[in-house]
Amino acid sequence: MAVSTNVNAPKPSTGLSAELGKRFRSNIQTYTIILALIAIWILFAVLTNGAFFTAQNVSNLFRQMTVTSFLAIGMVFVIVTGNIDLSVGKLAGFVSVVAAYFQANVWYQMIPDQPLIAAILSVIIGVGVGVLFGVLQGYIIAFLNVPAFIVTLGGMFVLNGLILLVTQGKTIPANQPYFSEIAQGYLPPIAGWIIAAIVVVFLFWNMFRSRQSRARHGFELSNLGLELIVTIFFSLLVIGYVYWVNQYRGVQTPVLLLAITAMIMAYISNNTRFGRYAYAIGGNREAARLSGINIRRSIFLIFILMGLLSGIAGIVLASYVGYGTTAAGQGYELDAIASAILGGTSTLGGVGTVFGALIGSLIMSSLTTGLQMLNVAPAWQYLVKGGVLVLAVYADVYFKKNR
């Protein structure tokens, strides 16, 4: 923690439990949501007699959460700046039908018998479509000053129309060999272990590097034991995950893709000017402007980023379901918004984390999977999800007040 500038402030205690307590209090929001997740998991594990935790089910659960997670990550940035994007579900849907269309109708004529190149081109085109749409919406929002709610609401209608135009109301298959691997593939177990090893080494390296750098700047170092415990805990989490999914078919490619994306985005949100500016704009637009921040540019870039992530989500979606349909991506924007908010993103702007959104998204997909396993009717699934959303946010408000 920072050096105290107040002579009379109590000396920060360096006892392990005291620091753990401090850390817990300062991150209460994240912990509330993680506790909620664990509670939900235990509940389902009990109700399904452990079937919820089988390797196969865990593997599917994580695979299933990827599409909305990409959207939720982007949504964090959008909501943090005080905006909203209602078009992301339909945009992902549109990207998925475009990718399907090219596979079904174009590549076999243009580049027959080149499935790898066809898959790569499908990805490029899909992501490109997402980015382009983000550029368009971002331009209207940032430079023409039309509120994001309206622009993206309009965008949702437009995309719905475009989806119908491309599909002509029919379902288009998207099951080319390489393309399918994007969301349905698994890494061989050994590759999973190598990745786990790399992550663990990185975690430790990062811990020591940041301690060194803090020491170089003459800051007080926090308790080494505590940092070790935290690092070891996360390492075990990664190792445990890899071990468990390896019991089934290995680390899922879309989950790997999501993890990499999330890490990049988390890094951007904390360690780059772009990220900082997003939070400042959402926190106090006027103060941000007077600090010399180019607000239009920031918002423009954020919608492009949202477009990019919608593009990725669309590709994963097409690969996951294996076809593009008129209903593709329907309602995903709401799942994404709910995930972000569950994860602690403030609808008032200025607050939110990528990590939180991932946990939020994991809660949403845990609910879906768990309730399906219990054969709960879809109607009741909606009721439960809605209730959990409001309850979770209330719990958060409650804990904050009674800290």
Binding site: A9, H217, R276, A287, A288
Partner: protein, 514 residues
Amino acid sequence: MSEDIILDIRNVTKRFPGVTALDNVSIQIRRGEIHGLCGENGAGKSTLMKILSGVYPHGDYEGTIIYDGKELNLGVGAIRQAREEGIAIVYQELTLVPNMTVGENVFLGKEPVERGAIDWNKLYADTRDILAKYRLEVSPQSVVKYLGVGKMQMVEIAKALSENAKILILDEPTSALTESEIDKLMEILENLRSHGVTCIYITHKLEEFFRITDSVTILRDGRTVATLPTRELTQEKLVSYMVGREMKERFPRSHRKPGEVIFEVNDLHAVDPNETNRKVLNGVTFNLRRGEILGIAGLMGSGRTELVTTIFGEYGKITRGSIKLEGEEIHVSDARDAMHKGISLVPEDRKGQGLVLMQSILKNISLANLDQFSGFMRIDGDAELAAATQQARALAVKAPNLQVRVDSLSGGNQQKVVIAKWLLTNPKILIMDDPTRGIDVGAKYEIYKLMNDLAERGVSIIMISSELEEVLGMSDRIMVMHEGRSTRTLEIAEATQERIMALATGIADELVAA
């Protein structure tokens, strides 16, 4: 006891995570007196007042408060309850709803109702009466956000007065008021005192204690140092009680020699960008030398803030005249551009323009300076923290660490964060719009020293201040504005309070021909 004690605060302690804001505080307040409360930034003054007004209800603090003979026990709906018990407060920070009218604000939460619907006519008529009673020249129908800060503050006071309170709490009511508005407030307070209303009065302008209060309690680091009748106090004594040591002088004087002229404003005319037929500047001419502190004096509404925000590219639309930096004419398009050219502005309104309240001290200090700490992509978090720590130290920001949110700081410490942020930008020209508002005497002194240091290092400073003493104490020259125009620029040797006031009010016929 023979004395009639209306409020007996006994051993009150209030803790926040990491800070003990009030530590066993005891104060007795007599019925009908004006009781001053004095202390450094973060001493706990506002916190104590928030306990009285129910922001922190019973159970949120330790100790007892006896109000009017019985224990003050504010529970659910504490704020409303306090109001009904006759405790009215004007908070340190403005709490008006900007998009509502004056009338709506005054009656917010207690709107007159006629058969289930708000009786607007009564609401506006009552507002008009209240405003008239205290001779406040504001229309009940005007929307609050278009009023200046001073007017807003007066509306806030009117709102509190409309409650028919037994105790009126004023937390730094004058920090945004002009001299004449302060005079008006003093009159109102004397009038209330003669009607038996008790008043608790907080300010950092020490002379006001001597002007209006009957007794003063001094708080230091959350503890009561002393309660004394005002007539037994002197400014020096008050200061030494507050800061715990003697302070010889209020303004450090440095012997510097300003260099050549680096910034010139010539016959600047500008209009309000939203209403282009409203003129805000009608001919401002002045220059600024390297390493000089130029004070800008003037009444509220004389265009001082408009002038500096126009220079900063953030407000007025320039219709005539020129601005030259180092001999070359410049056109500043916005804040970003201004900063690129080496001009920084410490804005007037810390909450609205200076700070991102929900973020940490660290992030606020570095916000305008991230380029310094960034490579192509990455922000060097440690370099950032080191620089921010240094600034926070230099300004004695009182906080457990730099990760705490700025909205948990006392008002004066928030202001220090704003100043720290802008000092870090390393400007050639630093414009400060009322930089020491709400800051205690000790910290002011530190800021003045920093300003002197900067000037000695060749930074040119433009300082707006509503406190004439401060302008006189710190400036090398003083430019006086009157109705959007610059009048004479006085050398410090020839400047006196009277002369500045004469120019500012337009009595003196010293206007420089444009």
